[in-house]
């Protein structure tokens, strides 16, 4: 897994609540059997007009937001399905972090599996970030933020600094880019002991 330590990048504000996974990656693109190449389909139904051209009204299509790597959104981001294609698409498009007041549980979890950092900040702080992004864009430049997982803080160069909470184990795995399965298999004796204690038949095992 790609590690996440500290990332500085441009912010793309998406001023919407309840952005669901059907919007992040519509179902017609879930038929692929790869993990990669989903960025071209990110927010597809919002991003493109029926003729296939980019919809100039969609937030992410603003020229000033091209190349953004931090997505700023409203509450309950990533609600809906368990599709990991959602963080795959965000990552492939170029986003390394999503900041919102709240996230849906499964999406939140899926981000950590892919070296992406979802950051929960208070609603008032998210409001402030939206204001700062709007002001920067009005002045003709993209708004830049640093998301620092080592210090557990989000900051800009205009005096905004907020710390955020993150599960210590998840933080450790993300900082180190650890293989979760490999880590869990270190406890295989405990898993076998649990199985034995619960009377499960000896493993038949699948083919490798």
């Amino acid at each position: 897994m790609q590690p996440f330590t500290t990332h500085t990048g441009n912010v793309a504000p998406l001023d919407r609540a309840n952005v669901d996974t059907d919007q992040i990656i519509p179902k017609q693109f879930l038929k692929r059997i790869e993990r990669t190449g989903f960025g071209q389909f990110l927010f597809f139904d919002w991003r493109f007009l029926p003729d296939g051209s980019p919809d100039p009204a969609f937030e992410l299509n603003q020229p000033i937001r091209q190349g953004a790597s931090i997505l700023l959104a409203r509450r309950n981001f990533g609600c809906g399905s368990s599709r990991e294609h959602a963080p795959w698409a965000l990552d492939d498009y170029g986003f390394r972090s999503v900041i919102a007041p709240t996230f849906a549980d499964i999406f939140f979890n899926n981000c950590f599996q892919n070296g992406m950092l979802p950051v929960k900040l208070d609603e008032a702080d998210v409001d402030e970030l939206f204001r700062r992004a709007a002001a920067a864009e009005a002045a003709g430049h993209a708004y830049r933020l640093t998301v620092d997982l080592q210090a557990c803080e989000v900051r800009d160069d205009g005096g905004f600094t907020r710390s955020f909470a993150v599960d210590p184990f998840r933080r450790h795995c993300l900082l180190e880019g650890l293989d979760n399965i490999g880590l869990s298999l270190k406890h295989v004796d405990k898993i076998t002991a649990w199985e034995n204690a619960h009377g499960l038949s000896p493993l038949q095992g699948g083919a490798t």
Partner: protein, 468 residues
């Protein structure tokens, strides 16, 4: 004396493998359900790392999301869909996983066949790469959806990294009025809990109204827990649960002994939940969603709400946007909204009792001339049972299409989709923008309400229905 525990506490304690210092706990997973859309990358990960499936006999697969619901003898027309199904087949063969394949008599929506075959049992931990895995909690299991990386983790280790979720008791007093169903109840609850009210929690539904629900109705309630943000919903097992399971294919051989064990699962008197809320079943009327998330819902006797009347600015902007997408005006009576399509199916409402309820409404009537209506049974078994009862003929005589089992138009991954602008009364679980097809407009309702809408061509209060 040990402290009283909730159903969640008991299942959690029993499945805790280890809780190493500085790590998230590992919990054991009893049953892993697999489908074609979220598993290919997980099996590929195993292959690349040279890992095997730790416990193939606890893993069950079926294709459901992406399959046509037309004649099963025909080849799958979409080559990318076909490749995904073929990949599931090859993976199940290679890793020794039991597959209920297309053409298998027991194939169906993964959340329908789990309980139906007795794969789902009280006290178990059950996961699947699908957010509606909460369905299985209706039998007193801890069941929730996971992403593909976690699917790979469970395949390889039969465990999951998981911090213990908080518990949320949703207690429902009283009983439902005639014509009001489990679907109406859960939509009503989501409307009050909001789309994120359950985030971070496992909901346990308790109270007399819940205890009165049949097994399939309980599945409908637990199924939609995720729409309130809760990864899992559960209902303590009781005699209704045990009667439902007895005789099913994959239940324990010594069934009575299992029942004795399962009977110890319900939450102890005095057990503490992290949060509790109480509702009254008698307050629920038939529900219809008007917006683009399941919490945007009102009674069929109400009107489309006015965003301007909403206190919260984010609710206001969401509602305005939703009304624009849905092509609705504030103040329009729900019963005056005309529909183009009807979909009866999905893991929420495609079981035999759902089809019976819909058929009893349709019997002797015809689908309105402007409406195209479709019934998609949840499994091969449900389909055969319905046909044995003559329900298929009730539907087809009225003008409904009668299809093969699958997820179908709930998410529209297969050819069953809405055209832009089409408005659908749907028994499924999500009314997100484009969910049933780009530009499609979904209204979530119960099977009886969907059937009545098919006949009338618009929503109608099922409590006034004239059954023939």
């Amino acid at each position: 004396m040990p402290a009283p525990r909730t159903l969640l506490d008991k299942i959690w304690d029993d499945h805790l493998v280890c809780s190493p210092d500085g790590e998230q706990p590992l919990i054991y997973i009893d049953r892993h359900l697999v489908h074609e859309v979220t598993s290919a990358q997980a099996f590929e990960g195993l292959r690349v790392a040279g890992r095997r499936v730790r416990r193939p006999e606890a893993t069950f697969a079926t294709p459901d999301h992406n399959i046509p619901t037309t004649d099963r003898r025909l080849p799958i027309a979409d080559p990318i869909s076909k490749q995904q199904i073929d990949t599931l087949r090859a993976n199940c063969r290679e890793f020794g996983v039991r597959l209920f394949d297309l053409g298998d008599a027991d194939q169906g929506i993964v959340h329908v066949i789990g309980p139906e075959l007795g794969i789902t049992q009280p006290g178990m931990t059950i996961v699947c790469g699908d957010s509606h895995t909460a369905t299985h909690g209706a039998l007193g299991a801890l069941a929730f959806g996971i992403g593909t990386s976690e699917v790979e983790h469970v395949l390889a280790t039969q465990t999951l990294r998981q911090s213990k979720p908080k518990s949320f008791e949703v207690r429902v007093e009283g009983e439902l009025h005639p014509g009001v169903t489990a679907k109406d109840l859960v939509l009503y609850l989501i409307g009050r809990l909001t789309t994120e009210g359950g985030t971070g929690y496992v909901i346990e539904y308790t109270g007399p109204c819940i205890r009165r629900l049949g097994m399939e109705e309980r599945m409908t309630v637990c199924n939609m827990s995720i729409e309130a943000g809760a990864r899992a919903g559960m209902i303590a097992p009781d005699q209704i649960t045990f009667d439902y399971l007895r005789g099913r294919d994959l239940v324990p051989k010594d069934f009575d002994q299992a029942v004795t064990r399962w009977a110890t699962l319900p939450s102890d008197a005095g057990a503490r939940y992290d949060r509790s809320e109480t509702f009254s079943g008698g307050d629920v009327v038939p529900q219809v969603t008007w917006g683009t998330n399941p919490a945007q819902v009102v009674g069929v006797d109400a009107t489309v709400p006015d965003p301007a009347s909403m206190a919260d600015s984010s609710d206001r902007s969401s509602a305005s946007r939703a009304l624009e997408y849905m092509g609705l005006q504030a103040g329009t009576p729900i019963a005056a909204i005309p529909i183009d399509r009807v979909f009866i199916g999905s893991c929420t409402n495609s079981r035999i009792e759902d089809l019976r309820a819909a058929a009893s409404v349709v019997r002797g009537h015809s689908v309105a001339s402007r409406v195209r209506a479709m019934v998609v049974p949840g499994s091969g078994r449900v389909k055969r049972q319905a046909e044995a009862e003559g329900l298929d003929r009730v539907f087809t005589a009225a003008g409904f299409e009668w299809r093969e089992a699958g997820c179908s138009m709930c998410l529209g991954m297969n050819p069953d989709t809405l055209a832009p602008g089409e408005r659908c009364a749907s028994t499924s679980n999500r009314n997100f923008e484009g969910r049933q097809g780009k530009g499609g407009r979904t209204h979530l309702v119960s099977p009886a309400m969907a059937a009545a809408a098919a006949v009338k061509g618009h929503f109608t209060d099922i409590r006034q229905w004239r059954y023939l």
